[in-house]
Symmetry: C4
Subunit: 293 residues, 4 copies
C-alpha cells in the first residue's frame, strides 16, 4: 500500500489537493466534534475583556489548579448552582495567604485568562484594569480563619433561599449530603449591620460571615444565598451541588412526614466514604462540560 | 453539461474546483457553527410574514434599541418567561409618546424586521397589513402615565398565576428581586368591567391596569399574567425573570415556615446595587441566545 | 502548488473527482442541516415497520389532515404531554364515521406512513399486519356520540393523575385554559366494571367513558390519564397542553390560598378569543419540531 | 461518464485519492450522524480505563444481553434515574450463579468493554486491575435468594429519598406503576447494623436488604436510595423509571387529597398488560440514547 501511496503522491497535484481536502474535511469534522462535546444548557459565547499580560499558569505552581478552577465555574453553571451571579475560588499554592478567582464575570464564560490573584484582604494583586467581584471578601475572610479550607463556592441558589429566610436548618437527609452534619448555620446581615444591600462587600461583613460559618462546610446567608467550603475544588463543587439537592429532598420529605435524618455516626462515616470517591462524579461533570475553548 | 464541465476543469479548472470545494466545505462548517451557537430550548424556525419596506433602523435613532428589543424577545422566551404568548416593548427614542413592539407573533421568532411603531393610543403608525398584538393597550396605557418607564414586558407565567388568583402579594424574598419592594398589586378585570375575555383589549382596560400598577415595578393581572416595567430593556427583562424566580422561591418558603422578607431599607439598597450591575446577566443571556438570523 | 494541482486535474479523473467531492460534501452538509432543525428533547430514530402499500395521502382528501396529525404526535411528545404511551386521532374527511390514527408505536416516532384508518367501531380498515393501539376504542366511542368532535388526544400525563385519583376537579385558573369551563369529569373504570386492567380496551368501556365525558372538552380517567377533544387538531393539541399546565398552576394555587377561578362568563369569552388565535402557538410548536423526515 | 471514470481509476493516484476522500468525508458524515442521534442531556465523553483482553461477548452466550445492559446504563442516566452513582446488572446466561455489571464508573459512560463478571458472592471473576462498585453486594445478595430475578437497578433517586426517610409506602397510583402492588418495603441499615456509612458494602448487609425486599419488585433503602428487580433488563429499567414517576405523582396527589390507589385486582391485571408491552417504551428509550460508541 505504501508503494501505491507513493505513486499517488508522485502524481503531483494529487499530493497538494489531497492534503488540502484532508485538512478542510478534518476542520469540518473538528467542528462537528466540538458539537458532540458541549452540554445541553445553552452554551454562551465567551467575550474576553482585559488581556492578562502574565500567563495564567504563573498564578499557580500547579497548572491543574487553574484548570480545575475554570472547570469548577463551568460545572457549577451547568449544574444550576451558579447562574449569572456567584463565584468559586481556590487558595493559592504559591502563597497560602492569597487566593485565585475569576475577574467579575458570569461563571459560565470563565476561561483561564480570566483568573486573578487576591491577597489576604481580598484585594487584587495585579488588577490591570480588570473588575473584581464585589463579594470577594466572602472568600478572603474565610481563608483567613480556616487554614483547612482550600476552595470556596458562593451561590444564590433558589433552592437554598427558602431555608435562609425561614430559619430552617439544612440537615443530611441522605448519604450524599452527609457533610451537612458539620452544620449549615444562617448568617443574617441584619444582626450587627442593620439595613444593608445584602452583599458581603467588605472584610467586616466577611469576618462576621466567617464567624457564623465556624467549622461547618456550609453557611447560609439570609435572603441572599449560601457558601460552601472544602479542602479541594472537586469536594467544594460536590458540596455546593449536593447542598442544593439536599435542600429539594428535605423540603419534599418535610411535606410527606417526619424525616429520620442521618445520625451523627452515620453522617461521619458516610461523608468520609463519599468524599473519598468524589473523583467519579467530578470526572463525569468535567466530561459533560467538555473541552473549554 | 459534461463537456462544459470538463472544459471548465481543463481551463484552469483547478481554480474553480478549489473554489467550489472551499465553498462547499465552508457551507458545511457554517451549518456546524450554526449548531454550536443556538440555545438548548427548541430553536424554532422564523417564518417572515409581511415585508416592511421601511428599514427597521429608521424606527429608532439608536439601532441598538431595536437590537436590544429583539434580544429581549428571544431571552424572555429562552428563560421561560414568555411562550407562544406575551410581548415586550420599548419607548421610542424618536418620539417619546410612541413605542416599539413586534407585530403579533411568537416572541421566539421575532427579528428586527418584525418591529413596528405604535402611537400614544396603541395604534400602529404604519401597519401595512401586519397584525398587532390585541393587548398592545397594556403598553400604551402605561407609557402614557409613567414617563419614567421606558420598557414593558407582559407575560402569562404559570408561576405568577397562583399569586394572581389567590390575592397573595409577591414580596422580595432575596436581594435579586428587591425591586418587588415597589409593590406587586393585583389588577382584576372583574372589578369595574364584570365578565370580560380577560384580555386588556382597549385603552379603558389599559388605563385601569395602569392605575392599579401605580408606581410599582410589577403588577399582576388576575387569571391572566403580569406586567413588569422599568427604565431600560435590560432592567425590565431582569425584573420579568426574577419576578418569576421570586414567585417560586416565595411559594417554597411559605411551605417551609414564616418568611423574613427584605426590610424596606434592605430592599432599597439591594435594588440599587443589583440593578446597577444588570449588565452582567444581560450579556450572559444575550450570549445564550447567540447570533440572531 | 497550482501547477501540480493543474496536472492532477488534467488527468481526466478530475471531472469525476470534482463531482464526487461535491456530492459527498453536500451529503455531509445535508446531515448537518438535519441537526439544525430538530428539537432539544432527545430525537429518537424512526423504525419503520410494515410498509403501507396505499400512499397515506389516499387516507384523506386533504393531505394537510395527515400532516397535522403527524405534527400533533411530535408536538405532544415534545411538549411532554405524551411519552412512550398515549395517542392522537382525527376524524376522517372522506368518511366521517371513520377516523385516522397512527399504528401502535411511540408518538415521538410517528410519520405519515404510520397513519391507519379505523371504522366506527375502532377496527382497522386495512391493517395489513400492522398493530393498532389497544385503546383505540376511546377514540371510536367519542366520535360515535360527539359529531362536533374532529380530533382526540389520550395522555397519561403525571400532572393530571393526582386529580383523577383524588376526585379533584380541574377548573379554569386562567384564560388560556378557559375551555375547562366545559367540565373535566372523572371516569372510574371501577364503577360499572370492577377490577379491570385500567385500559379502555373495548367499545363498552369506550361508551362508558364517552358518557361521562358528555359535552366537556376534557375527561379524566382515574389512575390512568385523560382525554381531550376538540373540533380541530390544533385546538385539541392546545387543550391537551393547557390542561396539563392548568393542573400544575391549580395545584400550586391551592397550596397558596383560595383560588378565584374564571367565572362562567369570563371563561366563555376567554375560550372564544383564545381558541380563535390558536394558530400562533400551533405554528410555534410546529417550528420547534422542525422538519419531519 | 463511465469511460472517464475508468480513466480516473486507471490513473492510479486518483484511485487512492478518491478512496481517501471517500473515507475522510464518510468520517465527517459519521460524526454528523453521531450528533443527530444522541440525547439532550449533556453527552459525556467515555474515558476507557483498563483494557479487557477477553472480548465482552465471551461474557454472555447472547451478545444482546451485553448490549441491553449497556443501553440500560445509558437509558437510566438519560431518564434521570441514575446520575454519577448507581448501577444496573443482569444475571449471567452462561452461569446463573454469576452476574454481569459495569466496572466502577459513571453509568453515563459505560460501554460493552466495561462489563465485568461477578460470582455468587459478588467478587469479580477476572478483575485485571479494574475497580468494582462497592455496592455490588446488593446485586449478589438478591440474585442468591431470588431465582426469578434476572436484572437489578440500584439508584439514589432524589424523588425516592423522601419516602425512605419518612417511612411512607410507595403504592401504585396509576396503571403504569402497577408493579408497586408487589410492595415497596424500606430497609434501614440502622436496624441490625447501627451507625454505618449507609452503603451495602458486604454480603451481610446485602442479605439483610434482600430479606426486606422479599418478593417485592422494589425496595427502598433509608437515606440512600432504592433497588428495583425484574426478570428482564427492559422490565427492570421500566420499573426503575416508573417507581420514580409514581413517587412524584403520589406526593402531589397526597397534597391534593385522599388518593384512591389501584385495588389489588386492578394492579394485578394492569401490571400484566403493561409489562407485556414494555417493548414500546424500551425501543423509544434506546432510540433516544442513539448509537453508542
Amino acid at each position: 500500500m505504501d508503494e501505491k501511496y507513493g505513486n499517488a503522491l508522485h502524481g503531483g497535484g494529487s499530493n497538494m489537493l489531497g492534503l488540502r481536502i484532508g485538512v478542510l474535511v478534518a476542520v469540518c469534522a473538528a467542528l462537528c466534534a466540538a458539537i458532540v462535546l458541549p452540554a445541553a444548557r445553552p452554551a454562551p459565547q465567551a467575550s474576553p475583556q482585559g488581556q492578562a499580560s502574565l500567563a495564567p499558569a504563573a498564578l499557580a505552581n500547579d497548572p491543574k489548579l487553574i484548570e480545575d478552577l475554570v472547570y469548577a465555574n463551568r460545572i457549577l453553571y451547568q449544574q444550576d448552582v451558579l447562574d449569572g451571579f456567584g463565584h468559586v475560588s481556590v487558595r493559592s499554592d504559591k502563597d497560602p495567604s492569597h487566593f485565585l478567582m475569576s475577574r467579575s464575570m458570569a461563571p459560565a464564560l470563565v476561561t483561564s485568562n480570566d483568573i486573578m490573584e487576591y491577597d489576604r484582604d481580598g484585594e487584587p494583586v495585579d488588577a490591570r484594569g480588570r473588575n473584581s467581584y464585589v463579594e470577594r471578601y466572602i472568600h478572603a475572610a474565610i481563608y483567613r480563619v480556616r487554614p483547612d479550607v482550600k476552595a470556596i463556592v458562593h451561590s444564590h441558589s433558589p433552592d437554598i433561599i427558602p431555608y435562609s429566610v425561614t430559619g430552617t436548618t439544612l440537615r443530611p437527609v441522605y448519604h450524599v449530603s452527609a457533610f451537612l452534619r458539620l452544620g449549615a448555620p444562617i448568617f443574617d446581615t441584619q444582626e450587627g449591620f442593620g439595613d444593608t444591600d445584602m452583599l458581603i462587600r467588605d472584610n467586616k461583613l466577611g469576618d462576621a460571615l466567617a464567624k457564623v460559618l465556624g467549622n461547618s462546610g456550609v453557611a447560609l446567608i439570609r435572603g441572599h444565598g449560601f457558601v460552601a467550603v472544602a479542602n479541594s475544588i472537586p469536594i467544594v463543587v460536590y458540596r455546593a451541588i449536593y447542598t442544593q439537592t439536599n435542600a429539594r429532598v428535605q423540603a419534599e420529605g418535610m411535606k410527606l412526614g417526619t424525616i429520620k435524618y442521618l445520625t451523627p455516626g452515620e453522617a461521619e462515616k458516610a461523608q468520609a466514604i463519599v468524599e473519598a470517591t468524589v473523583g467519579r462524579p467530578w470526572e463525569l461533570w468535567k466530561s459533560q462540560v467538555g473541552k473549554i475553548q
